[in-house]
């Protein structure tokens, strides 16, 4: 593990950032003819900016916040390696920038609530159900929250009839399922679910031709469940009727966006861009928030041990500035960060969820995602 130098006189709070070599998440995504469509850079940049942002507050309370990096080799056993390295380094918390299986194994093997771990990447609803009594905190929103944000907006606009185009990948199925559950919750009407494939074979036109797929139902919007986005990017303007596209294209829901103008977001985006020379992505933002959650937990409780920090992170009065207006805190039932969700296009943020008018008996932010009474811990 590499470590930054600690300043004299202060106590040190170490936060580990764990990544894996050859993680397919970071492999450049090229399409046909080598057109580069996706070029992800490590979200550690978000964590590094947060460490810089926390220097002043660290000085004020006499704590030096330090980021340690751990890189798992391609064939390393995540659980074993993480456990030994974390114990050796004395890290108080760890941010997991790892594939889903690694995240599940790490949180499972470290034992119930031994150490605060942060999920900054995986939106799967099932992950929250499986890790509910571990020390894993989810910063990135779940698919349920992302779907609810969109549903609230559609309801607000009275665009109630939704046609779903669903891709063939397992993740597309999950996105579609999450949206259908959300539509039911907010009483939108799903008028049809059409499965699509990529290709040109005219024998498969029912699953390829967008005009054909959108011609036989009456609908107000078209929701496209396409995580890779290859099909979705060609849906706008090819539909039979002039209807807006939402989901993977058109109006999208996300944790963060470079175009958000309010709540101090431009300041954070600018600080990040000056550091990383690129716009801040959702994962960058999640890594930033994870560090700030630890800092806030330490400030709130003067925590010096893992157990104290874990307790502090669970406190309902933990207020983390998310730069989205409302402060964040972690839900007690699934350790999900409650947060506003941005509804955005490719160059503007159209609205912020919870959409105005949507209330909740305890906490408005809990109108997004799986609520306490609906949540089932499968662990």
């Amino acid at each position: 593990m590499s470590a930054a130098r600690a300043q004299d006189g202060a106590s040190t709070a170490k936060i580990a950032y764990i990544a894996r070599e050859d993680d397919s998440f970071y492999a450049p995504g090229r399409t046909y003819a080598g057109i580069l469509r996706r070029d992800r850079k490590s979200a550690i940049a978000g964590a590094e900016v947060a460490i810089q942002d926390s220097k002043a507050i660290g000085r004020a309370i006499g704590v030096d916040f330090v980021l340690l990096t751990l890189r798992l080799a391609a064939d390393d056993d995540a659980a074993a390696r993480i456990r030994s390295e974390l114990n050796a380094s004395g890290a108080m918390a760890a941010i997991l920038d790892l594939p889903l299986d690694d995240v599940k194994r790490a949180s499972g093997s470290l034992g119930d609530e031994a150490l605060a771990l942060f999920n900054i990447r995986h939106r799967e609803i099932a992950l929250r159900q499986e890790t509910c009594r571990t020390g894993l905190f989810h910063v990135i929103p779940s698919r349920a929250m992302l779907a609810d944000a969109l549903s609230q907006y559609l309801l607000f606009k009275a665009w109630r009839r939704v046609l779903i185009l669903e891709g063939a990948q397992p993740m597309d199925f999950e996105v579609s399922q999450a949206f259908q559950a959300s539509a039911k919750k907010f009483q939108l009407r799903v008028v049809g679910v059409k499965k699509f494939v990529l290709g040109h074979d005219p024998r498969q036109r029912d699953q390829i031709n967008v005009a054909l797929m959108t011609s036989d139902t009456d609908h107000d919007v078209v929701f496209v469940a396409d995580v890779m986005g290859e099909f979705a990017r060609y849906v706008p303007y090819r539909t039979a009727k002039s209807r807006l596209i939402v989901g993977a294209e058109g109006l999208m829901s996300g944790a963060w966006d470079g175009a958000w103008e309010r709540h101090g977001a431009p300041q954070l985006n600018r600080r990040f861009e000056r550091f990383a020379a690129r716009p801040m992505t959702e994962e960058d933002w999640a890594a930033w928030v994870a560090v700030r959650a630890v800092v806030q937990g330490v400030v709130l409780s003067r925590a010096t041990s893992r157990a104290q920090l874990l307790r502090a992170l669970k406190r309902p009065d933990l207020t983390i500035e998310l730069y989205k207006g409302a402060p964040g805190s972690f839900r007690s039932w699934d350790r999900q960060l409650r947060q506003p969700i941005l509804l955005h296009t490719r160059n503007a943020v159209v609205d912020l969820a919870p959409v105005e008018g949507f209330l909740h008996q305890r906490h408005n932010l809990d109108s997004l995602g799986v609520d306490e009474s609906e949540f089932s811990c499968t662990r």
């Binding site: 942002d53 507050i57 300041q267 400030v299 207020t319």
Partner: protein
């Protein structure tokens, strides 16, 4: 010659008026100079200043540099300074003519600032650079820099010129700068996202708004610590919808006004008892506040309804709303 002090509680600019201490009547301006009676509003998104006359009507719109926000009168009150964040500029305008007379460039993202009683040192919070810089407005030289936490905003200088307070929004800290020693001598931990200051006229307490905690923290200046806080709970408004920003304390130290941001209200506070006595509904997202010299009118800048609300302080009612530019931020009154 006795000097009268007038407190602009907003960010705390101190003006030394040569002449007798004014009691109830409006004070005379320096050296018998006439005031214009103008009300100036900075509009951060339309890059303009809206100029209103004594009848509270917009008489002129002045185009400025990019993203004008903080404003302050010069020591002799014949000019005023405007901080343009997007153009890294402090622009200086002449009040009588509203002409731009000078620009100091390469001042990194100035947001707000306060003028030292010495009349020439402008302490500026540089939002993006996590710094407070001191600009000599006569020579244009940067004479000092202080490293703060991220996103410094509110700046307030004590009337004796000895201490400067700077709020660091992202670090939840109020930095205390000792002017003579030229360094930060204390970092006071406050609520989440501290924005603006007001000094009690007796000099005993510094009030700072904590936007995300929905409260005003009260710092005891003899201890330089937070001793208590005022929480704002307008009826039927959730705590996270209350985002206090500007704070003003009246000259007699009895009443304070706090702009409550997302709650769309201004709170009226009884200062000695620290209790909230009223909430006044204004426009959308009120941040900037300014009182007339006689404190009979309170002007409120509503950032998201692009207007200002004018409150009659005796009745605590809004008597007029005037549309101005896009995202009004701060208000100066030359009376």
């Amino acid at each position: 010659m006795a000097a009268a002090f007038r407190i602009h509680g907003r960010i705390g600019s101190w003006l030394v008026l040569a002449g007798a201490l004014a009691a109830a009547t409006a004070a005379a301006s320096p050296a018998g100079a006439e005031t214009t009676g103008l009300i100036i509003v900075s509009n951060e998104k339309s890059n303009t200043l809206s100029i209103l006359d004594a009848s509270d009507s917009v008489v002129r719109t002045v185009q400025t540099c990019g993203r004008p926000r903080g404003m302050k009168f010069s020591a002799n009150r014949r000019q005023f300074y405007v901080g343009c964040g997007d153009d890294n500029t402090i622009a200086i305008y002449e009040l009588a003519t509203l002409k731009l007379v000078k620009r100091y460039r390469d001042i990194a993202d100035p947001e707000t600032f306060d003028l030292h009683p010495n009349g020439h040192d402008l302490y500026i919070s540089n939002e993006d650079d996590s710094e407070t810089t001191v600009l000599n407005v006569e020579t244009g030289e940067i004479t000092a820099r202080y490293e703060t936490g991220a996103e410094p905003e509110g700046v307030l200088i004590t009337p004796d010129g000895k201490l400067v307070f700077v709020a660091s929004e992202a670090a939840n800290i109020v930095h205390v700068i000792d002017v003579a020693a030229k360094k930060i001598v204390k970092n006071i931990l406050v609520g989440t996202r501290p924005r603006r200051f007001a000094l009690r006229p007796d000099g005993k307490e510094l009030w700072v708004s904590a936007e995300l905690s929905g409260e005003v923290n009260i710092i005891d200046l003899s201890k330089l610590e937070v001793v208590t806080s005022i929480v704002f709970a307008p009826p039927a408004i959730r705590r996270d919808q209350v985002t206090p920003v500007d704070v003003l304390i009246t000259r007699d130290g009895r009443r304070a006004y706090v702009a409550l941001g997302r709650a769309n209200r201004v709170a009226v506070v009884d200062v000695p008892t620290r209790t909230v006595s009223d909430f006044i509904l204004v426009g959308k997202r009120p941040w900037g506040l300014q009182l007339t010299r006689d404190e009979k009118k309170l002007y409120v800048a509503n950032g998201l309804s692009d207007d200002i609300s004018i409150i009659e302080t005796a009745s605590r009612r809004v008597t007029k709303s005037v549309p101005v530019g896009i995202v009004p931020y701060a208000i100066l009154i030359d009376d």
